[in-house]
Subunit: 241 residues, 2 copies
């Protein structure tokens, strides 16, 4: 039993293991981008409660696992993907958020740039699917609230930080980048102005590679130069789109 006992953090006199005890879980909002649409990875539950409902991927945290480890495991178990961009964005702990007891959940969002893999259905999920965020089904627990907050956080973050690149493959064209941002922010950019602006930031590394097998002038490929960004950031530069 790893629970702290006889634990007097403040002026409470009740031992923690009899009373101050919570379940802790991780829920992940996994975003993907494909053909101009922002999608989220949902699973259909195959167990009670909320059997049959769609839900975010998530799991209980084991007492000897850090939160980030637990979050990475959640993602890896379902998708097989490692080293994915993840970010904690909020903790949901309403007393009644879980029908079976007090379970507090720490929510992460992650951005994956390749949707070319088979989400692994687990023993508690019928299926896993990428679903457009503008066409969501009814969700289990308070997952709709969590998802909305995740979308809000993402939209907010991509405006001020170069997070959006995580949704693209490592090598991308400027037009792909523009279309991504148009999908994220919900409005159009002028092509030449967008290109000028993003290139003048000096955070993209132009490659000597081009899109192949297209029936028009091939587009140049770029990479996001994270090191460069970190340096510029320290010098006071701030990303804005």
């Amino acid at each position: 039993m790893k629970t702290p006992s006889s634990y007097f953090l403040s002026d409470h006199t009740i031992p923690l293991n009899d009373y101050f005890v919570f379940g802790l879980s991780i829920d992940c909002v996994v975003f993907g981008y494909h053909e101009g649409e922002i999608k989220v990875l949902l699973v259909q539950r195959d167990v009670e409660p909320f059997n049959g409902h769609w839900a975010l991927i998530g799991d209980l945290v084991e007492p000897d696992k850090n939160l980030e480890e637990a979050a990475n495991n959640v993602l890896e178990n379902l998708t097989g993907l490692k080293n994915i961009y993840m970010k904690q964005f909020f903790t949901f702990g309403s007393v009644d958020r879980h029908p079976l007891g007090r379970v507090v959940t720490v929510a992460y969002f992650s951005l994956v740039n390749s949707m070319n893999y088979q989400p692994i259905a687990s023993s508690w999920a019928k299926s896993a699917e990428w679903i457009n965020i503008n066409n969501l089904p009814e969700l289990a627990f308070d997952h709709y609230t969590i998802l909305c907050k995740g979308i809000e956080t993402l939209k907010n973050e991509v405006r001020h930080k170069p997070t959006g690149f995580e949704l693209l493959p490592k090598k991308f064209t400027l037009l792909e980048l523009q279309l991504l941002y148009e999908a994220l922010l919900g409005y159009k950019f002028d092509k030449s102005n967008f290109r000028k602006k993003i290139q003048e930031m000096n955070i993209l590394r132009p490659l000597n590679e081009f899109k192949l097998n297209v029936s028009h002038r091939p587009a140049k490929l770029f990479e996001f130069d994270e090191k460069r960004y970190r340096t510029l950031e320290k010098e006071g530069f701030s990303f804005e789109l």
Copy 2:
């Protein structure tokens, strides 16, 4: 006992109340602003562990309390202040962050505009003091990490949202506002341009009141017009300084 039992969230087969059990606490980074300096409210612990160390204010969450309630209580118990701006910013849950067991803490920051009250020393704290964030003592637990993240979050937030007003009294002068933002962001503004810019945003309500008993022209007082801000925000306006 409110702990969920025989609780099969995923494919785990271990009952939650024997194993998946955590302590949950709230920690509050309370910011104040006084004479050009950003300060934070710290207490000196009078109990083990970390007896004598300075720490953030915080407490265990009771199983029937929502997180926001618990956070409000933490603040109210120490300062007597109610209806204070509070915002959850991160949850810290490293396995070894607490020497007595696994305790996950949800961190909030709050902004208080009046430091003219006596922080109430509790049974577990020797004293409570406002301390300049550039002159911090050694802190208990991982509170230094929490505090740093709180400062970072605050500095990030005040640039894009009119949160800073919460640190000023309800009625303030434009110069006070400017000095606050200079302290928060770490650089100077041109006076006339700052005033022009902030007034053109239309989120300040000018009052017919003035600073009294000053040996120079008295400054006009303003209020932050939150309703107006909310409307403008819906119309697409976004605060930037």
